[in-house]
Amino acid sequence: MRKGLLLMVTLIGLGLALSPAAGAANDVIRLGFPIPLTGENPDVGASSKNAAEMYLKQVPTVVVAGKTYALKFVYEDNEFKAESAVKAITKLITEEEVLGVIGPQASAQAVPAGEVANNYATPMISPWSTNPNTTLNRPYVFRGCFLDPFQGPVAANFATEEFGAKKAAVLYDIASDYPKGLAEFFKQAFEKIHGPGAVVAFESFTTGDKDFSAQMANIVASGADILFTPQYYSEVPLIVRAAKENGFSKPIMGSDSWGSGDLMGLCGDDCKGLFFSTHYAAAGAQGATKAFIDQYSAAYGKTPDDVAALTWDSLGLMIQAIQNTGGLSGDIKADRTKVKDALAAIKDYPGITGKMTFTPEGDPIKCAVVVKINDQGQFAFHKSVCP
């Protein structure tokens, strides 16, 4: 009994000594990660944590204006829930006194957490959230990925550069928000390059349609050089098939929705050789991206997904901003604002998912990756396309 008590007291004492609040020295930079370690989508949390741990191993200390700081990461579980995300980020900011926050990942948590970060004037980067509201009117909140509408210009530029397309066709589901929005953004961007009327066929259907032969006959007759179809993986095989059967032999291109789900299982050989834009591609990557993928695969035994890659870049951005502040004062509140200003001022940060510069809204202007589906059915890096 006495032994047990002694052990407990020792443990508590040890805990206090090691606990971050007690030892909050000036030469430590603390960053918080409100990520889903449990809950519906623990894979997202695991990828984020893996990337962060790998970063920490590689960059254990940071030099800011001649002074060396040790990096320390604090992970808080947001359980993939909005309420927990608010709790987690509040704890990180108020109790753990982090300088900046990386995460949450999904928009459902990033939107409410962004509100908290902005209220506490703490810089936050959500690596993976694509919802415009995450950063909207929140000067302290940034993101690591591009927004949905951005892919329209990307596809338009790619079609123009890669295939020399002058006339384009679009086939999209008018009853679904994402395809409809993207189809319109593509049309705007393509007609901006090639003049009004350059989208010669703007064909629509409604969710659940299976037969696209009539629309495809129109598209073939329109003489388009390329077909853009921002649809989901379950519709793409049918569209591609309809194109083949109606004699459309021009390139077909899509957006990041192609990459979700089992596209190749449903589409098979028909989809090989087609293109789509997305955040990042593991197969066929080069340079720093390849180095990251190799290290990650060696450390964790799997290919990093887009969450891991975007977390890596967001972390890199945050560290870069901290270094750019030109010295930390030790007053956490003042330093947070300094970091925010430095983040907003970053130009052409060389990330593994592309070069990044933030807009005043905190969304990165970055290049998208265009993926080619190769003969093995992998999504291989083809080209980086900038807006």
Binding site: S204, A214, N218, P237, R241, L266
Partner: protein
């Protein structure tokens, strides 16, 4: 609209109409015998497609695929169609036994909703057993696209249209020439009196459901070849549209259901280039997504002028040819 463009759409319409026609037959036959519509029929089409998927995967496992296959792909396809038609016929028989026979003397409305309920049961059991994700239908024969002077046609399209017409002709022969066919026609004429002279109503009803379901299974497999993504709800809107074809053809008319099925396919497909022409003439901006709205308004207009359908007669639902 030039000739090539028209021909291209016509070919597409023939394929699309084949599915409507095959499924509409099932509605029409059941109606003529039992005076009720089997609203689960669209889902039996879905079940047929999934059974076809299972059968073809098993067969491919046995005979192998690709260059190492023991038999060519079309043999597997024919076997898949025949086995699946046989198996799906039993699904139809079970539906009749469970959903319709106990309610034969019940009010019409009750018998009508059993079909809806069985349909939902079939959809949800599919999700229960297979998890609800989309499945790819194996492409048993190599797809070939032929370019006939600017009109593109595939071997599958030709096959689908020929097999459908073949099945319809076989059914026609069966109903007109065989003793069982005669019994069906007699039952369609009067299902109260004819059993009194020794024709068993239950046997005929079972046979009708079996044949209708087998045709739906054939349609399901052909559909899988043309549109190789299967989902548990694929039969819902398809079933409704085939039902429209059955009514449009004239309730109880086999020939009517076939012709109306092809006609419906034609109207649906041709509406899209039609919209384009209207857009060009009047400088409008109507989207192709209004296809169904326009197509079914046309069907409605036809029914206003021919309320009994193309081949229907007033106050008659007997099985006609």
């Amino acid at each position: 609209m030039n000739l090539n463009f028209f021909m291209q759409n016509l070919i597409n319409a023939l394929q699309w109409g084949s599915f409507y026609a095959l499924i509409a037959l099932g509605y029409s036959m059941v109606y003529s015998i039992l005076m009720l519509f089997n609203f689960a029929h669209g889902d039996i089409f879905m079940v047929g497609a999934y059974i076809g998927l299972g059968v073809s995967l098993v067969l491919l496992k046995i005979v192998g695929s690709g260059a190492a296959a023991l038999v060519p792909g079309w043999v597997v396809l024919v076997a898949t169609i025949l086995i699946s038609m046989f198996l799906t016929a039993f699904v139809g028989i079970i539906v009749e036994r469970v959903g319709y026979r106990p309610l034969r003397d019940a009010p019409r409305a009750s018998a009508a909703i059993t079909g809806l309920m069985i349909g939902i049961i079939l959809e949800t059991s599919n999700i229960l057993f297979l998890g609800g994700q989309r499945l790819a239908f194996p492409q048993l024969i190599e797809s070939q696209t032929y370019n006939l002077g600017g009109v593109f046609i595939t071997n599958k399209k030709i096959m689908i249209v020929l097999v459908s017409i073949g099945l319809m002709t076989t059914l026609h022969q069966f109903v007109t020439r065989s003793r069982w066919g005669m019994a069906m026609r007699a039952m369609a004429y009067d299902f109260v009196v004819v059993p009194l002279v020794g024709v068993p109503l239950n046997t005929i009803a079972v046979m009708t459901f079996a044949i209708g379901s087998a045709l739906a299974a054939a349609a399901g497999i052909l559909f899988g070849l043309a549109y190789p993504v299967l989902d548990p709800y694929m039969g819902v809107s398809f079933g409704w549209k085939a039902f429209v074809a059955a009514i449009l053809g004239g309730r109880g008319s086999i020939m009517g259901a076939c012709i109306a099925g092809f006609m419906l396919g034609f109207i649906e497909i041709m509406t899209v280039p039609g919209i384009q022409i209207v857009n060009r003439l009047f400088e409008l901006n109507i989207g192709s997504n209004l296809r169904d709205l326009i197509a079914y308004s046309i069907v409605l207009a036809i029914l206003v002028f021919r309320p009994h359908g193309l081949f229907g007669e007033p106050y008659s639902a007997k099985l006609r040819l």
